[in-house]
């Protein structure tokens, strides 16, 4: 800490203590809600307040989790879905940035393509699912494409607007030194809009999950999305809820990971 002893005040200690108390209170409340929720779920299932066949119960989900952890099926399905999501996220994001670059590079291209982007952006991408599957066959390819296509246009538009917002006077400075358009991009436009680019990462991770899970609903014979559909079909709702819990857990971790990555990158840049 950079606080030197000469700028402390007796009340500052007090203030710090209150701050800590407040933080602790918030933590406790969060934990209480977490435990309370699962407890209520368990109890109401045990006492038949809710139909245990449909809503299962935490203990049953936990048992299933334990069993699948041991026989390796948890890891098997998880691995596939994580792979598809990451691939969809990376492809979608990179393609989006490339598209944004093309939009920025050629005003004419951006003017020509504009109405198509608007329409495609407004289109609910999951509706393309069946077409993608017919075109690419039922497999990883289709599912990853779903995960990518759902975030590519949005990220292109957001990143492009970031490119556009870079102060033109920075470009003037470079142009007065005789820079090329590519140099303008590399030296000014890209570093100037990195915060915007990075902020699309977080959004895209969430979107890729949607695309991949829907893709798995439609075609897969493995993966967490498949387990949900399968559980639904055989009326095994413990399996459905188990998959849901795993997905929630993974999505949260991935989101946090990207958030950390964002912080790290921004810190490194500044």
């Amino acid at each position: 800490m950079t606080t030197k002893p000469n700028n402390t005040h007796p009340k500052y200690v007090d203030y710090l203590r209150k701050l800590k108390q407040e933080k602790r209170l918030i933590k406790y409340c969060q934990i209480a809600i977490f435990i309370g929720f699962f407890l209520l779920w368990e109890v109401s299932s045990q006492l038949n307040w809710i139909d245990p066949l449909i809503f299962s119960s935490p203990s049953r989900v936990l048992q299933l989790l334990y069993r699948y952890l041991l026989d390796g099926s948890l890891w098997f399905h998880m691995r596939i879905t994580i792979f598809e999501t990451l691939a969809g996220f990376l492809i979608g994001t990179i393609a989006g940035i490339l598209l944004a670059f093309m939009l920025w590079y050629s005003r004419r291209f951006s003017a020509i393509i504009d109405p198509y982007l608007v329409v495609f952006n407004a289109l609910p991408k999951v509706a393309l699912g069946p077409i993608i599957i017919v075109a690419l066959g039922p497999g990883y390819g289709s599912i990853i494409t779903m995960g990518a296509i759902i975030c590519v246009i949005v990220s292109a538009l957001v990143v492009y607007s970031g490119f556009d917002e870079v102060d033109p006077n920075y470009l003037k400075v470079l142009t007065s030194f005789g820079s090329t358009k590519w140099q303008n991009f590399k030296e000014v436009v890209l570093p100037g809009s990195l915060p915007t680019i990075i902020s699309t990462f977080k959004v895209n991770v969430g979107l890729s999950w949607v695309g991949v899970i829907v893709g798995e609903f439609l075609v897969a014979s493995k993966g967490l999305g498949y387990l949900i559909v399968y559980g639904f079909q055989v009326f095994n709702f413990t399996l459905v809820l188990y998959s849901l819990v795993v997905i929630a857990f993974l999505a949260a971790i991935m989101y946090q990971g990207v958030a950390y990555f964002e912080k790290w990158l921004l810190k490194k840049l500044s």
Partner: protein, 258 residues
């Protein structure tokens, strides 16, 4: 002997709804090593004129000659400093200063040493590896000057480089600038709103009028004032005389356009 010559420059901005007449038949000739100021109300086309000289903008009509040759055929002789410093916030000071050579693919040991010695000249060698945001406004503007001087321009264009600074810093920087420009024998063109700054720094002042932008008056600053430093010049009686003259002139211009 005129060094930079503008012949009948006119400029129009085109867009779908308007055709804005920004400059009307501007002819100027500027001597080598002299300091010229363009003084005029907002919107009279000062920035447009500088952009044309810097070749960021192609004039609709007219020619630019440098030492008798068309300017277009002579690359990289012009340095441009903008109203704010526009140092790249993601680059250190030394990297900012080296951007010109980098763009031209001439980033080598010699240029790096040159950048260091320029930074020392502008009194910033101790902050070379800091980022612009860690510097004060005056320091940033000096870094921007070093960046502009890095590529050895023969002509320096200054678009209100002091307007974002407080008065004290501005005076210091004026003095500093004049010293640097005299040492490096630069031909300079300064755009400003500030009558005092124009008189204190220049050899020649061009008063511009607006709608469309044109040269209204050419004023030669008397030798007695010219020789003095910007601070000393402000104390000279002739400075005040000239100030009044220009002020009245601008006032009548203002009333004419209303």
């Amino acid at each position: 002997m005129s060094y930079l010559k503008l012949k009948d420059i006119s400029h129009y901005y085109f867009n779908e709804k308007h055709c804005t007449h920004a400059l009307d038949h501007i002819s100027l000739s500027i001597e080598e090593g002299s300091f010229t100021s363009l003084l005029g109300p907002s919107g009279c086309g000062k920035t447009t004129l500088l952009s044309i000289i810097a070749q960021l903008l192609q004039p609709t009509e007219g020619d630019l000659l440098l030492a008798g040759q068309p300017l277009i055929e002579q690359k990289n002789l012009i340095g441009y400093m903008l109203q704010q410093d526009y140092l790249f916030p993601w680059k250190t000071i030394i990297d900012n200063v080296c951007i010109g050579p980098k763009i031209r693919g001439e980033l080598n040991e010699a240029n790096l040493n040159k950048a260091k010695s320029l930074l020392a000249k502008v009194g910033l060698d101790h902050v070379a590896s800091k980022y612009p945001e860690q510097l004060s406004g005056g320091m940033r503007q000096r870094a921007a000057l070093a960046r502009t001087l890095m590529t050895d321009p023969t002509i320096l264009l200054l678009d209100e480089p002091f307007s974002a600074l407080d008065f004290q810093t501005k005076l210091d920087l004026e003095v500093f600038m004049i010293e640097m420009l005299t040492t490096y024998q630069k031909t300079s063109i300064l755009v400003t709103h500030d009558i005092g700054e124009a008189i204190a720094m220049s050899d020649h002042i061009y008063l511009m009028k607006t709608n469309p932008g044109a040269i209204h008056l050419h004023i030669k600053v008397p030798d007695q004032v010219r020789k003095l430093s910007p601070i000393e010049a402000r104390k000279h009686p002739l400075y005040h005389e000239l100030f009044d003259q220009i002020w009245k002139e601008m006032h009548t211009l203002d009333n004419q356009t209303k």
